[in-house]
């Protein structure tokens, strides 16, 4: 149907524009990162030199080591990873079970539960943060990891939605065959659904990692003790106490981002699936 020779002619000029656009976009979007790395390799006097230095002649890689002695960066790493692991555990257990029931078990009240869960997506997190904070103060959970871990064990509307969509796409005949073989719901979930839903589960794990790693408001609200700080909160406190030491701040900023960039390179496909699930499949 298509006319190859016409299309090449038609596309010649736009092709040039496309490359120019991509090039311009790359310069604009990559520029800040270049600036970040440049600054992280400077000395303090490089930073405030006039006329400005474009790239340091003698890159100060030791900034990346110094940062660990200025603030307990290692502790922040450990705390962040600790929270990530628990959040992944809680998110996986709760959301897989919930989504399995909502997608595969015909029970009374399931439509209402699903609708209520989706409805919570419309409630801004800022609305419930203060009363939740008050709740935790009544429970004596302030300045501890509890408020940052426990909620993950109660399901997350976005992940429930994503998993329900995926579970529904698995043919029901499998369940029926398993029933005939005498399996119950727990066996069906563990032996059948979970292995088949690996891609969706990977999306949940990666996004939980990302959200926990990047969370700022949660740690800001609940953690006062420097020993409990996460990387995000630690970087903020570094910003407050070393507010003109941009070389160290940028080295710290780079160190906080590196694990995310690594994960992204290994799991690009899952990222795209996770981001588009809400917008398109709905």
């Amino acid at each position: 149907m298509s006319l190859p020779q016409v299309r090449t002619n038609r596309h010649f000029l736009p092709r040039l524009f496309i490359y120019l656009g991509l090039l311009l976009g790359t310069v604009i979007y990559l520029g800040p990162f270049v600036w970040q790395v440049r600054s992280s390799l400077m000395t303090l006097s490089n930073i405030f030199a006039y006329p400005p230095i474009l790239w340091p002649e003698d890159p100060q890689w030791k900034n990346y080591v110094d940062i660990f002695s200025i603030i307990p960066f290692g502790t922040y790493y450990f705390n962040t990873i600790f929270l990530v692991v628990w959040n992944i555990l809680g998110t996986l257990i709760s959301n897989v079970c919930i989504a399995f029931a909502l997608a595969r078990i015909p029970f009374k009240g399931r439509k209402t539960l699903f609708a209520l869960s989706i409805g919570t997506l419309m409630i801004p997190s800022a609305v419930t943060m203060i009363p939740t904070y008050i709740q935790w103060s009544w429970l004596g959970g302030l300045n501890s990891f509890w408020p940052l871990i426990v909620p993950s064990f109660f399901g997350n509307a976005f992940f429930i939605f994503l998993l329900v969509q995926f579970f529904r796409s698995i043919p029901r005949e499998y369940d029926e065959a398993a029933f005939v073989d005498g399996a119950g719901y727990p066996q069906i979930l563990l032996k059948l659904i979970v292995p088949m839903a690996q891609p969706a589960i990977a999306v949940v794990v990666i996004f939980t990692f990302l959200n926990t790693w990047n969370d700022f408001m949660g740690p800001l609200f609940y953690l006062n003790d420097n020993k409990l700080f996460t990387l995000a909160l630690g970087l903020k406190s570094l910003l407050s106490s070393y507010n003109s030491y941009w070389h160290l701040l940028m080295a710290g900023a780079t160190l906080v981002s590196l694990p995310l960039i690594l994960v992204f390179f290994f799991a690009q496909k899952s990222f795209v699936e996770g981001l588009t699930a809400g917008g398109i499949k709905g």
Binding site: S2, R15, I18, G21, L22, G25, T26, Y29, P32, F33, W35, Q36, S39, S94, I98, F100, A101, L102, I105, F107, K108, L113, L116, T120, M122, I123, P124, S125, A126, V127, T128, I130, P131, T132, I134, S137, P151, G155, I160, F179, W213, N214, F216, M217, F221, L231, L235, L239, W246, L249, M250, A253, V256, S257, I261, F264, F271, L275, T276, G278
Partner: protein, 294 residues
Amino acid sequence: MTFRKDTLWGWLFCLPLALGLTIWVAFPLGVAVVMSLFQWNMISPAKFIGLGNYVFMFFTDHLFWQSLYVMALYTVLSVPLQLIVAFGLALLLNTKAKGMGIFRTIFYLPSLIPVVVSTALWLWMFNPQYGYFNLILDTLGLPTQEWLSSPDMVIPSLVLMSLWSVGNIVIIFLAGLQGIPKELEEATQVDGGNAWHRLRHVILPFMSPVIFYNLVMGVIAGLQVFTQPYIMTNGGPANASLTYVLHLYKQAFQFSKMGYANALALVLLVLTIVLSLVVFKSSDKWVYYEGDKK
């Protein structure tokens, strides 16, 4: 499996959800409603003041109105610009140029890094004396700007920064663009339609549900912006970047006005619901769903 067994298993598996909706949604909302009627600093006993917090909010607290204005200004400026920039990038990324994987990664990276990191980076880039932007402006012979330290420039600066982290929106647009049937695009080419016709009559109508989704999400995020102004300006200069949630945060944790902060939170909830309804209502007029015309 019998009916009763299904119900039993269903509710057992959904127990975390049922409990979660109670403990983390219903109960906090209840606490917010009740506490919004009290004056309470979390130390001395709470004092019932009826609708006092709301009266104070609407009639005395000029910072409430200021924060509403800042929130509205930020949302009105940032959301349309974000959608346009993200749509443009998605159109570029939807072409068959070489090295597309690398380009996608580059445009997504700013959304991947933690907000604290991008905020720290941009705070440094906005530095009036040694920062990235004024260095560029100076090199080009253009007048340098005050950026975050000028009340007029601080919100545009934050908007500019938000345009850098549109990667999530780009990916959603990109997925939508890839869902456009090839025959539809080719049909306009055969009919002699140019790129503009294709955009106006094929791509935009087809993409309207995706644009709608990003619009709703963008507005909800715009109403809640907190971390960037909190870290960069703490609401200044002259409260020009005091967003609603930052105002709420300060009332709660700087001035220990827990009752008042809860009242502010509830007003935000009402605002969000009303705005979402308005956007949903308007969607009949411009959002085209495939199923409609069958």
